[in-house]
């Protein structure tokens, strides 16, 4: 069973590395046409051009900032919301309501909210995109955290309360340390949802908010293989870094 698991994981790793190599090689190829197995030459000029262009650097910086901010706020507020709702007698109803935003696809949701963003002047702004992503990601955070607030977690918090811990101290000394690993996992998941979002950003951002994901789609739309590959490399880098960080720190066996 263990060897089968390792085999499947190994296969996934190989496929992922092949995919990653394809993107890296594609971004540096001078020319690469079917049926050639490898490009006929390599160049760094695209990378140099991109890294020298402020537009790209800004897109990378702001995309990272947006996703970090969305995931940070949604993780913290989602945790507190799930903690409170899970103790409510109507907790099942609240949980079901949290699934409501997922009845619509993000693009449809963005279109249905477009009027509101235009009239309030938030369309085409980073804050507008943040708010739109927050509205979609926040219930997801609540859903993810809900299951962690089971009877045992409530009892641990109650024990801390009867030992003299106030609500804030309970959160700091019991809830957060006990849920350290889920917190990191949820943060990473929410970061990825925001990072790879295309629908909301393109509709609410009205083309003025340029995230890296939008750049990738733009080059794919223009059928520019080389720049698409390059943009994809940049797009994958932060989540990959996040994943490595998560594997190194979050998935260490707890004491």
């Amino acid at each position: 069973m263990r060897s089968l698991r390792n085999g499947v994981l190994g296969l996934f790793a190989v496929v992922f590395l092949l995919f990653l190599s394809y993107l890296v090689v594609g971004s540096m190829a001078t020319e690469w046409r079917f049926p050639a197995l490898f490009p006929n030459g390599y160049t760094f000029h695209r990378w140099e051009a991109v890294l020298n262009r402020t537009e790209w650097a800004l897109a990378l910086f702001y995309s990272f900032l947006l996703s970090a901010f969305v995931s940070l706020t949604c993780t913290s507020i989602g945790l507190l919301t799930a903690s409170g709702l899970s103790r409510d007698p109507l907790s099942t109803l609240w949980l079901r309501l949290c699934y409501l935003p997922y009845g619509l696809s993000p693009v449809l949701y963005a279109y249905s909210m477009q009027f509101f963003y235009h009239t309030t002047g938030m369309a085409g702004t980073w804050f507008g995109v943040y708010l739109a992503q927050f509205i979609l990601v926040y219930p997801f955070a609540v859903v993810l955290f809900f299951n962690y607030f089971d009877e045992k977690m409530h009892n641990l918090e109650d024990i801390a309360a009867s030992l003299g811990a106030s609500r804030w101290v309970r959160l700091k000394t019991v809830t957060l340390p006990v849920l350290r690993q889920p917190l990191q996992t949820v943060f990473a998941q929410l970061f990825l949802v925001s990072w790879f979002d295309y629908g909301i950003t393109s509709v609410i951002g009205t083309g003025q908010v340029k995230t890296l994901t939008l750049f990738v789609y733009q080059y794919i739309g223009e059928s520019d293989l080389y720049y698409s590959a390059l943009a994809s490399c940049l797009l994958i880098a932060p989540p990959l870094f996040l994943w490595l960080f998560h594997r190194t720190f979050a998935l260490k066996p707890s004491k």
Binding site: A160, S162, G164, V174
Partner: protein, 243 residues
Amino acid sequence: MSFLTVKEVTKKYNKVNLFDNLSFSLEKDQVLAVLGRSGCGKTTLLKLIAGLISPDSGQILVDNLPILDTPPQQRGVLYLYQEALLFPHLTVAENIAYGLRVRHRPTATIRLQTEEMLENLELTSVDRHFPHQLSGGQRQRVALGRALVVQPRLLLLDEPFGALDPETRTSMQLFFKRIAAQYQITAIFVTHDLKEAVAMGQQWALLENRRWNHYRHLEDFSKDPKTGLQQEIAYWKKIEHQL
């Protein structure tokens, strides 16, 4: 003079009346063993006193002061579950010191009282262990130490030894008796085990069909057929006779 007074408390759970005008009192330094079947409301009663849930009506007084408006962390009432519920990210010593830390006691006092408690509980050798490295009995002792170190006014024990094997359970009962006498504990000890109730209590109560029967003497407890003690004694006498 009564230390704990529960006055005409009513509580509904899922539209079912668990208690209807429940009233009783308990004197200081006494251990009240409460017997009752599963679902009769024993745990709810303890949670009401601890402030973890609120009654629909009635009053609860500790030392003649109403406590219903006091948040759980200020009541000085400690609730112990059947499961030890130690904080998994803290060591044995840190678990015991938790209550003192959140009360902002001086560091030197925390260290001294924790060490004393560890010694008393015979847990000094495992003070740096984490909960998952302990046996069931050790975990319960840590839970008890964590509660006792803050010197609670009232200790509420909800079948604390229910999850232990018979041997460990007996040793924990003896241990609790010793500690209860040493720390002059006022406690409510909930159990569904008749033998444990007799062993642990100095007073007894039977919660049955929303009715509270309080016995201040073992003789009264034994005489009431509802408690089942007479049948238990008769059963063992019969076995003894057969042997």
